[in-house]
Point group: D2
Chain length 204, copies 4
């Protein structure tokens, strides 16, 4: 196997990349200036060395100092009373971009499926529970379980609601889920029962 | 042009049908038994002769008697107090299929675009207004403007809200719109500002 | 089931049509003028009554007289020495449109798959053999087996070559297949072995 | 802009990659072990340092020695009499994979479009001409212009045929192009005139 083949194999493992596109990536890199390539590989090494996982929210963050908490976690202007549980870093990034939420986050690390036998190994359920002790001390009053609306997302939502129930009762913390209704692109011609029902209930 | 070509031309005018599929439709018909074809053309003629447009809701309905109102319109168990304005017959059919709404309907005949110069020629705004007089007599208290969530749908919604405003004020009729939020398939990674905001506001 | 539903069911059986598009077809028809609909259903009946299958080529053709042979079959300027076997009427129509072939045709009625247990019931192999007797009398010297280049097409090609072999030997008739090579849209980056090999062999 | 954003920007420049997939690439890298990342960046640097462009065929090749010619160019078992001109490295790689060609190659560096004003700046036409002098000394008798079958590919083919014409006449070198015909996936229902004509001419 040639060196070009070996690098192609690396790119084939990138999410959503097949053999042909992996090959094109190699030739794309070969066409760059040496200085560009150095910046690129340097950035990857730097990022890998200095990326951390926040001890409270489990979000990835970059820090050259010995910080243990992400920027949002440390930000005193963010609301300690509300926590939103989202599957991934990119989900959090997109919610942040909309600038409609000012609470804290917890990155679950994915969603679970009804067929998963050991869900606690697939998502950070233990880390969630232990981080909540500290959050409750800091005045937490509501946990928003924010999951995508598909089979696994809804299963994960049910799983978390059950998991958090004892804690919710003991500390009087509200467990909420995101409102359902018409989202951008929804057409009446294709609307399903649950969405239509919520759209009627939440009408203004 | 052969007879096969002429029939192909008819099928090319069907919504979403290109020349090749139109041709395949012709051969599909030629493969049917004579009795099947007679039933098919008979059904088309029968439907065309006996289809009516409801004088109140403007929905198409089939009736061999001289009825002026659709089945839903005549149904005494349907709620006269609520009216849902939808763009098309198929929108209404799908909402009905979900079995979550028990009021009446008005078929607008489509949506309008911000670039339309004479929107009143494209949708049934005059028919809407005149049908409302009768509905108000019958106890109407709320009009739900149910439009798809895209540019033209939202423009039509704004147009109708403005159109209905004087009537709403005079007769104390609530004008409402369907609730926004997470719909089936929505992922946090792709959610837009409006949907996220509503999903947070409508959280339970 | 309403009359609209029944007609929807008919359209759902059209090739490539799902329930929603079938529904849109019904409403498309309901929007037409009565005279248009009459022309449409009249044309279907007329076509169904007067379409014939050519006794020699098995192509569908329209004729109000009692003709037994299609126009191409009767055309004295067409070459009797060459016969092209194609799967369907639409294949023949498209080959004709290219105006590069002047022989006769035989419509096989489809292709067969390696998993078909009784291929002779799926395609017109018997009709092919019996029509060839007459063609050989009329001076046939070559049969072009023109099949699409995919698994079933190539299997049908092999099947026909074997079927025609005894006849070919007895009457000294050439059995040929269409040339392989670069076709419109072929890219070297995706070319397969067979196509590349033929493209090299047939290079000019 | 955070370090994650900067690396995302690099990946956005990869061929066919949008902002979301670029982001996923960053998180994909962050999930790898440090040793994997080191191998990956090390491989990129090594490749970039040791990749060369062959002085005769202009193909990229990896060599830690000071070699000036690619492996195929140096291979004494490859036929010096035939040269195939292909647009890109990946075209050559795919042709090689089919194992049906044993001559040499020239990588043109792309195709040109009828609207290009200075085609000689976009492809290696000068390098082609000068490399041919040496090849003619080594016994070259045929140049295969192997271009994809689309507008730009065919325009490039015409351009090269004209460019090579004087040289062809002077040194009695055959200029050939790949044969046209049915390629894998071609259906008679969609075949175009040129392909049908060639498929008939090249029939066997």
């Amino acid at each position: 196997m040639s060196e070009i083949d070996i690098l192609t194999e690396y790119f084939k493992k990138f999410p959503g990349i097949g053999p042909r596109q992996a090959r094109r990536f190699v030739y794309h890199i070969l066409r760059q200036d040496n200085s560009e390539i150095e910046k690129f590989t340097g950035l990857i090494s730097d990022l890998k060395n200095n990326i951390r996982v926040c001890k409270m929210s489990y979000v990835h963050f970059y820090s050259t100092k010995n910080e243990e908490l992400s920027q949002i976690e440390r930000d005193p202007s963010r609301d300690n009373k509300v926590l939103m549980i989202v599957p991934t870093d990119t989900d959090m990034e997109n919610v942040e971009k909309q600038r409609v939420y000012n609470g804290k986050y917890f990155i679950l690390g994915g969603v679970i499926s009804p067929t998963d036998t050991n869900p606690e190994n697939k998502i950070r359920s233990r880390e969630l529970i232990s981080s909540l002790t500290k959050r409750i001390e800091n005045g937490l009053t509501e946990i928003i379980v924010a999951m995508p609306v598909h089979r696994d997302g809804e299963h994960t939502m049910d799983y978390l609601i059950q998991l958090l129930e004892p804690l919710s009762r003991k500390h009087n913390i509200k467990i909420s889920t995101l409102g359902r209704g018409m989202s951008t692109g929804t057409e009446l011609e294709y609307i399903d029962e649950h969405t239509m029902k919520s759209a009627l209930e939440n009408r203004k």
